[in-house]
Structures are given as structure tokens and as C-alpha cells.
């Protein structure tokens, strides 16, 4: 065949039809990920299937998920652990950073994944989780799509999204095949007293250097062409911005250095974009008095989710919220390779925690079933309905007249 098209295929009996060895097809086989139907990016599960639904399928590789902690950091720590546990189950590498708890202890307390025989027990509860806005949801058999399809040996699980039992900790055998790195600030400070940090808080600077070193040495940035099997690095940073990180934004309205945290987030996102990684950060937003900082932090992150728990607030005893443990505020969802993102129509989300299931769902007001219905409770309902309707994201809550 003299006129073989495609010079590169000479010597192979070339035809003009050549399959491109696309990077996409290789990446799609990275364990624990799946491509998004919307924008083709690889998605990871956050460890919480209902959160994945809310975020439009999962967390995109290369992005940053910021969790605004609830008041006692109870539920945000749970989300943090779910993220890491999902990494263990999928076989991803982990990087855990904390200034408070030693990462070894954090990893010892990861929840155990639910195995096959417990799946049916879970079935009834899982069917209650609706996900109308989930892109590739099953149309007819939607009730079944959330059932976890866990293999008998969780380490070779190929399914996306798992459930965990928080009353049990993960068994150490699951850790054997994965690689994990830790950054515990008190230890780092004692190892290397001074380090050049580019006009940034030194704790953040060290953390950045440490992350960059792991990404580079383990080849997550594609710098090692020898590495055949690609893997994901899941980075978890706990309680960033708190006093223990050497930052005073949580205790002062006019902090000494308001730029360190934002510089850190900017450089971190650069590192994430350049590598096969994803990061979860929990931040005590309720302690940061200077609201300008949280506005900037939100703009510099990709996905931002705020948790508000009812513990200790008047809502704990309010019968309207009796089915739930707190509210979920989705502050921001990124638009990747597309002008639009999969934002849910439901702006009012609440969460509920049971031993084996953490669900995030649309906030329903309970039906009015009491015998003694009085006008006052009707007004409470009306008041909450107004609260709900004004929970929309980016709009100007000012004039109420119609806009056209």
C-alpha cells in the first residue's frame, strides 16, 4: 500500500483509521474514578454518595473541596474521614495534614466500609435518598442506583461511592496496599527550624513544600513517564486557619497577615491542577470574624460546602427540624471546561446522620399532623418557608418586586 496515510504507522500495514492513543482512555482506568458526563473531567467520590449527588457527580480530579466546619467540628471531621476512607477503599494514596491530631491517629479512626451482607439492611434506607438532579441517574430504576455494590474484597472495589459504618473502625489490613504520607505540624517544626517560605506563614509554607515534594517524588504530576499505573493522591488538611497553624485570622478582626491563607490556597490549587490529586480542607469559618477573608477564600477554592449543625442552637428543639441534624449550604461549585455547572435546583439541603448512613437531602418541613393546630405554629411554618426561599445562592436579597 503505497499511499498509506498517517506516516507514523509505516511498517504496520497502516490504514487511515488509527486509534489515537488518547490520554483520556488511559486515565479512565485509574481506579476509583469515572469521567463526568458534563465536562469529561475525572471525578472522585467524596466518600459520601449523597454529597456526590449534590456536587454533580463527585469531586473533579485536580480540584479543591473546602468544608466550612460546623460549630464543634463534629460533622466536618466525619466528612474528612469519609474522604480518606474512600481513598483507602479505592486504593488511592493519602496525604494527611493536621496541626492538632497526629495523622496516624486520624487514620486509625477511619470508619469501616460496609460489606456485601450488610448491603440489604441498608437498602431500605438508601432508597429514601433521592437524587433528581444527578446527571446519569437511572430513570426507571432510580431506587436501586444508590445501593452500594461492594465486592466481597473491598480493596479491589471498582464501584464509585461506598457506605461506611461509623461505629466500627477500618481494619488495618485495608491499609496494607496503600501508601500514605503525613504532615503533623508540631513534628515538622521540630525537624527543621527555619525554612524559606516566600513571605507566607511558615506553617503553610512548609505544608506546601511537603505536598509538592510528595507530588513530584511519587510522580503524581506526570513527571515520571516510567510509571505505568496511574493513581490518585487524596490530600486532607484539617482545621486550616486555626490558631494551631500559627494564623490569627480566627481570633482577630484585624489579623496580622491576612494574605497567608489566601496565598496558600492559590499555590495549592496550582499544585492540584498540575497533578492527579484532589484535596479536602476543613476550615473553622464560624471563627473568622473578618468576612472579607472568607469571601476571598471562597473565590480561591473550587467547591465550597458549609455545614451548620443544630447542636446547641434553638433549632435543636424546633419540631420543624426534628428529622435532621443540620443544614448543608453549597456555597460554590466549579465550572470546569464548561460555562455551566451541575448545580442542584434544591437550595435548601439538610443532613441526617445514622450509624451507617449520612444523608444529605432536600429539607422537607414535616407534615402538620397535630390535633391542636394553632395559628402560631402556622406562622412559624410560614416563617421557615420564607427562610427557605431566601436561601438561594448568589442573588441580591433586596428588592422583592418581580424582575421583568
Amino acid at each position: 500500500m503505497a499511499a498509506a496515510a498517517g506516516g507514523t504507522a509505516q511498517g504496520r500495514g497502516a490504514t487511515s483509521f488509527q486509534r489515537k492513543a488518547a490520554d483520556g482512555s488511559r486515565l479512565a482506568t485509574v481506579v476509583g474514578t469515572r469521567p463526568s458526563v458534563r465536562h469529561g473531567q475525572l471525578l472522585l467520590s467524596s466518600g459520601l454518595p449523597s454529597l456526590d449527588c449534590v456536587l454533580g457527580g463527585g469531586i473533579a480530579v485536580g480540584t479543591l473541596l473546602l468544608i466550612e466546619e460546623d460549630k464543634y467540628a463534629l460533622y466536618s471531621n466525619l466528612l474528612f474521614k469519609y474522604f480518606l476512607a474512600e481513598g483507602v477503599v479505592c486504593g488511592h494514596d493519602l496525604f494527611v495534614a493536621s496541626a492538632k491530631e497526629h495523622p496516624d491517629n486520624i487514620l486509625k479512626e477511619l470508619p469501616a466500609p460496609l460489606l456485601d451482607e450488610q448491603r440489604n439492611e441498608l437498602g431500605e434506607e438508601a432508597t429514601a435518598v433521592k437524587s433528581e438532579d444527578f446527571q446519569d441517574s437511572m430513570k426507571i430504576a432510580w431506587r436501586y442506583q444508590n445501593l452500594p455494590k461492594i465486592e466481597a474484597s473491598p480493596t479491589t472495589s471498582t464501584k464509585f461511592g461506598h457506605y461506611y459504618d461509623i461505629s466500627k473502625t477500618m481494619s488495618p489490613e485495608l491499609f496494607q496496599s496503600i501508601k500514605w504520607h503525613s504532615f503533623y505540624l508540631p513534628e515538622e517544626l521540630s525537624l527543621q527550624p527555619t525554612v524559606k517560605t516566600c513571605n507566607m506563614n511558615s506553617a503553610y509554607g512548609r505544608l506546601l513544600l511537603s505536598i509538592q515534594r510528595v507530588i513530584y517524588q511519587e510522580g503524581f504530576d506526570g513527571s515520571d513517564p516510567q510509571k505505568k499505573q496511574k493513581n490518585i493522591l487524596r490530600i486532607g488538611i484539617q482545621n486550616l486557619g486555626s490558631l494551631l497553624w500559627g494564623d490569627d485570622i480566627c481570633c482577630s478582626d484585624t489579623p496580622e497577615d491576612i494574605h497567608s491563607l489566601t496565598k496558600f490556597l492559590y499555590v495549592l490549587r496550582g499544585l492540584l491542577r498540575k497533578s492527579l490529586s484532589a484535596c479536602i480542607i476543613t476550615i473553622p469559618a464560624h471563627l473568622i470574624e473578618n468576612k472579607a477573608i472568607m469571601e476571598r477564600v471562597t473565590n480561591l477554592s473550587d467547591t465550597v460546602v458549609g455545614l451548620e449543625s443544630f447542636i446547641g442552637s434553638e433549632r435543636e428543639t424546633n419540631p420543624l427540624y426534628k428529622d435532621y441534624h443540620g443544614l448543608v449550604h453549597v456555597r460554590q461549585i466549579p465550572r470546569l471546561n464548561s460555562l455551566i455547572c451541575d448545580v442542584s435546583d434544591t437550595k435548601d439541603l439538610a443532613f441526617r446522620l445514622k450509624r451507617k448512613l449520612f444523608t444529605i437531602e432536600r429539607l422537607h418541613l414535616p407534615p402538620d399532623l397535630s390535633d391542636t393546630v394553632s395559628r402560631t405554629s402556622k406562622q412559624e411554618l410560614a416563617g421557615s418557608a420564607k427562610l427557605l426561599s431566601s436561601g438561594c445562592g448568589a442573588m441580591a436579597i433586596g428588592k422583592k418586586h418581580l424582575d421583568f
Binding site: L369, V373, S374, R375, K378, F404
Partner: protein, 311 residues
Amino acid sequence: MGSDVIAPRMRAASEGGAKMAAPRSGLLQALVEGGASGLVLVRDSAACEGRSLLRAFATAAVKRSEPVLVVLLDVPRESFEAGLSPDVKQRLQYQDRLWTPPLPCPMDVGGLLGALGGRGSPGPSPTLLLDSLSWLLLRMRPPHVGGAIAGLLRGGTEGGRVVALLHEDLHPPSLVRALGAMATAQLVLGGPAPMATPLSQATPPRLVRVLTRPRRGGGTQKDEAFTVHPNGTLGVPPPLLATEGEGGGPSPTPPSGGAPSPITFRLRLSGAERAARAAVTPPYEHRSSMQGVPIDPDPPEDEDPDEDLDV
């Protein structure tokens, strides 16, 4: 900044927050056409710009054959000249060191102020237009700026004036008030002026609150309508609506008059239409054919109608 709040940009600030009353013309025109002396502060905001008033001052001064110096800090010469007639343009003197390359790096603000002082134009009643005072206030301490302005006023010949543009949404209200105390007149820009007949001209009239503080004491406050034509001359439109219709006072929204809207209906009523609507008697008040049958409305229910739902 402490507890001072920068005035929100979408609301044109008005002194005392009172709604503007039915305006009369005259005071603004008198000021523009030579009546101003000392410091005239033109206070604008992002939604209601004041540069066109500076052009009106320039045009009027040139017509009176008086020297005019324009100090350009905010915008380059092309932007300022858009809106002036050619014969006015060539008679203006410019101090636009900061827009002429090569630029000093870093910005030499102190040197600029010094150069200004030396260039006070001789000649009758000079006018110095400063675009803008906010630029200086963002880079120098207010007392220095205040002192420099006072020096300019002293240095000029008798009857001269400094017309300074101040973007009041960039500064705390206390600073704006302090500068106002130095001024003999303040022109606070507002939104579109309500008109008796809807106009479709290219330059719809706008509102300005004129505050004067003559040397002899006292002070006046008047709301007036004005327009600045494309050639830079000041226009005073016919008298406005007597009643405070909708849109009276500094508009909280950006001006939207002028171009016809592409939609085919409007939700707003004019004053006359509203009066006409109020004058119509509702049908339930008409005497119907069922005269003699007293129809009393039901007493108000104090039971909850849903109470009978038994679940």
C-alpha cells in the same frame, strides 16, 4: 477606617437622606457661569458620574475667555475630551504628566502636587479642574491633600476657583464631610430627573443637589435638574413634575431613561394614571339592581379552616 462604612456604590448619597423636593433651576447655572469661587466639590458615585459637570465648567470658562487648567489623574486626555467641542479643546491647558509616557515609577505624587502649585495660571479668574481629588486621597494622607488644596486656592488670583471631582463611594463619609466643610459649594450628583413629558433625547436630564456655603455665612440647598450636551454646554431643562412621582430623588438604581425599552408593556404608572385609577369606583360599590337587600360581608373567621381535617 474603624466603624466608618464606605457608602454603597449603587446608592447616590444625599445629605441628610431627605427625598429631593420639586427642583427649581438657576443655582447650578449661576455657579457654572462664573458665580463659583474657592473650592467647588463635585461629588459623584459609580452610578451617577460627575465628569460631565467638569466639562460644563470648562466650556463655560472658555466661553468667558478665562484660563482653564485641567489636572488629569483618573483618566487620560482622550476620555476627558470626549464630550467637548473642538474649539474648547484647544483652549484648555492640561497637566497630565501621569498619562504621558514614560511614566515615573513609582508614582511621584508629592512631585505632582508641587508642580501643580507652581503652575497656577496668571490671568483673570482662573479655573482649575481636578479629575480627581479621590486619586490624591487614596495615595496621600488627607491632611496633606487638604493643605495642598488650600495652597492652590491661596496661590490663585482673586475670583479663581478649584473644581474638584470627588468619588464619594471610595471614601468614608467622615472624610467627605470634612472636605465639604472646606468647600464653598458642593454639587451632589443624583439619578435621572422625573420629567413632565417623557423625553427620548440622547442626554436625559439628571438631578443634582446644590449646596452652597457663601463666605458671609448661612447656606442653601437646592435640587435642580440639568443636562450636559455632547458639546459640553450645560443645559437646564424645563421645570419638572410638581408632585413627587416615582423616581423622585436620587435613584437607587442606575439611570435607565432614554433608549426605548424593547418590551411592549410597562408596569409603572405615571401620576396622572394613578390618579385616574384611584378615581374609578370599584364595581362592588355600585348600586346594583338588588337594592334593598342588605348584603353584609361575612364576619371574619377565627377558626382555622384546616382544623376540620382529621388525620
